[in-house]
């Protein structure tokens, strides 16, 4: 009985003192050092609201993660709101999809696309930085309008940019000085319909050579030929119409669903599929020297490119180019320029410039009608983050995918109590007593 009392007592003591040890191979259940350091910099109340279906596994995992955040810094408060049961609150925060997380800090508010550590920490870093970056949206060539709330407009893009601490400013290079303002962290050319003027081409070429960050979203439905600007950076616009019988929305083979996202880089991160209506193909060059070119999205092997869709037949026919076709690509180049601002403020001399280019052969996937479909929104945010250099923030706080925390829920605690205090000691003591009884019987038989 003494042994039993000791065993039960030890278990009760251990049960009363909850401690967690992360034994996973990649410390998946532990906040990264970058996140912990970041959280220590939060000097004012930070409110985090995660919109998730309460009671579901996502909400449970988010609660676990957000508890870790609060453990590091008690200025952080959090809540999980069920957007189904609280539509008024979801509307007040502008929520349009599950898993959206809203972070508020010193009067500023931004959203994170998911309740994952990388997304949350990146959002917090932006809040702490306090300033918004200006992204310049090109106009003057028939591009859709940022104010347009119709299906072909870009009002949702404007909202997404604003929610992610970007200030979207319209820039018309067809008038005025014809140069890209120095305040632009990136230039977004989304869906031009008319040919670029020679002045625009010169302005964009000069911008890229000085370390510009450019997004070009175009298609063969446009009259714009972007190759004079794109090709020096390893990406070519091939044109035509890409059709994918294996992966398309409904019976429209040109409404392509992209599921091959081969890049391990930050633009594809967290994106599993895209919807690209009426896309055209790109040509991706080879890496050379400081130039890195990467295929971001491609169609299935059953797809093909119809170079002349106006010919009438959309089935595979002679002259069509077999797939897979590249629909999105990125180019990254580092070079050293003589002159310019210099390596440091106030210091003259050579300086390193970092040119980045993001191109898609589709100019409608980011419109209001499609931005919310599949992973389009995340893809767009990732691309802008990468162009403006914020991908470093994402990478710095990324965890290995597949994190599956094991929170100590009340049910789990009860199970642990039952097993550790009841069943396991019971089995041990019972086995010992049984063994003792068997030995006594055996001795008695021998004496007889």
């Amino acid at each position: 009985m003494v042994v039993l009392a000791v065993v039960v007592g030890l278990n009760l003591v251990a049960y009363a003192d909850n401690r967690q040890v992360d034994l996973s191979a990649a410390n998946s259940f532990t906040l990264s050092p970058e996140t912990v350091a970041l959280l220590h910099q939060v000097g004012h109340p930070l409110q985090i609201v995660a919109f998730l279906t309460t009671g579901g596994p996502d909400a449970r995992d988010a609660s676990y993660l957000l508890n870790r955040y609060r453990e590091v810094n008690h200025r952080i408060s959090w809540s999980v709101v069920d957007p189904d049961a609280n539509p008024g609150e979801a509307k007040a925060y502008g929520i349009t999809s599950y898993s959206t997380v809203v972070l508020s800090y010193q009067g500023r508010r931004i959203t994170a696309p998911d309740a994952q550590e990388a997304d949350l920490s990146t959002a917090i870093l932006r809040l702490l930085r306090g300033s918004t970056q200006q992204v310049c949206v090109m106009t003057g060539d028939g591009e859709p309008d940022l104010q347009d709330t119709g299906p072909n407009g870009l009002a949702d893009v404007a909202t997404v940019l604003r929610q992610n601490a970007f200030d979207a400013t319209a820039v018309d290079l067809t008038v005025g000085t014809g140069t890209v303002p120095s305040t632009c962290a990136a230039v977004l050319e989304m869906g031009p319909q008319q040919p670029w003027s020679p002045g625009e081409v010169t302005a964009l070429q000069g911008y890229l050579h000085k370390g510009g960050r450019l997004m070009v979203l175009t298609s063969s439905l446009s009259n714009t030929d972007p190759n004079a600007v794109l090709q020096p950076w390893g990406i070519g616009f091939e044109g035509g119409l890409v059709l994918d019988p294996a992966r398309s929305e409904g019976v429209d083979w040109s409404n392509v669903v992209v599921q091959d996202l081969p890049s391990a880089g930050p633009v594809d991160e967290g994106v599993t599929s895209l919807q690209f209506p009426a896309p055209s193909a790109l040509v991706v060059g080879r890496n050379s020297g400081a130039l890195t070119v990467e295929d971001l999205a491609q169609t299935s092997s059953q797809s093909y490119v119809d170079p002349d869709p106006s010919s009438g037949t959309l089935t595979f026919s002679p002259g069509d180019v077999p797939g897979p076709a590249v629909l999105a690509a990125a180019s990254d180049s580092s070079q050293v320029l003589n002159g310019g601002p210099g390596p440091a403020p106030g210091v003259a001399g050579p300086s390193a410039v970092h040119t980045r280019l993001f191109v898609t052969g589709c100019d409608t996937w980011m419109t209001n009608g499609f931005l919310g479909n599949l992973g389009n929104r995340r893809f767009f945010v990732n691309a802008v983050d990468w162009l403006t250099g914020q991908d470093n923030l994402v990478l710095a706080t990324s965890q290995a995918p597949g994190s599956r925390p094991l929170p100590l829920t009340p049910a789990l605690q009860a199970e642990l109590l039952g097993v550790t205090v009841g069943a396991v000691p019971g089995l041990i003591v019972s086995a010992a007593l049984g063994r003792a009884g068997w030995l006594r019987r055996r001795r008695s038989k021998r004496r007889q």
């Binding site: 539509p87 049910a411 039952g418 008695s444």
Partner: protein
Amino acid sequence: MKRPAHAAAVLFSAMLTVGAAAAGCGSSAKSTSAPAPPVVVPGPAGAYRDINVSAGRREVTLIGAQIGPLVPLVAARSFVPTEPLASYGLDPPAARLTYDRSSGAPLTLLVGSAGFDAHFVYVMDPVGRPVYTVASDQLRAVLAQVGVTVPQPTS
């Protein structure tokens, strides 16, 4: 000679009982298994003579095969409303569905607005308090007949 074995058996049973009882307190099975989707209107379709759909002054009566899409009416989930019913578009409701049973009193449901991502529509039985979320696709065509538009999902 029988005492030790007997004592062990009794102790073992007691321990297992305590353990099982403690584990049962958490009712882990209940907390981990997915609950069955709530049935708003049970089948079969033959149990109903017709369904009246009304919104304002407009109304249509569905009969025969037309009532098939609305019987059984199964919700994705149900919950007790935490916001005013107006938040769910239920005060006043956008439409009413009145199921005329072959036997028994008619069953009336209030139809509210679409959810935050338009994947579902709020539905409530005015007799009970739970609010149900019913797939927008199941109600869109029916509600369109009385001029109520259910938007397409945002994601």
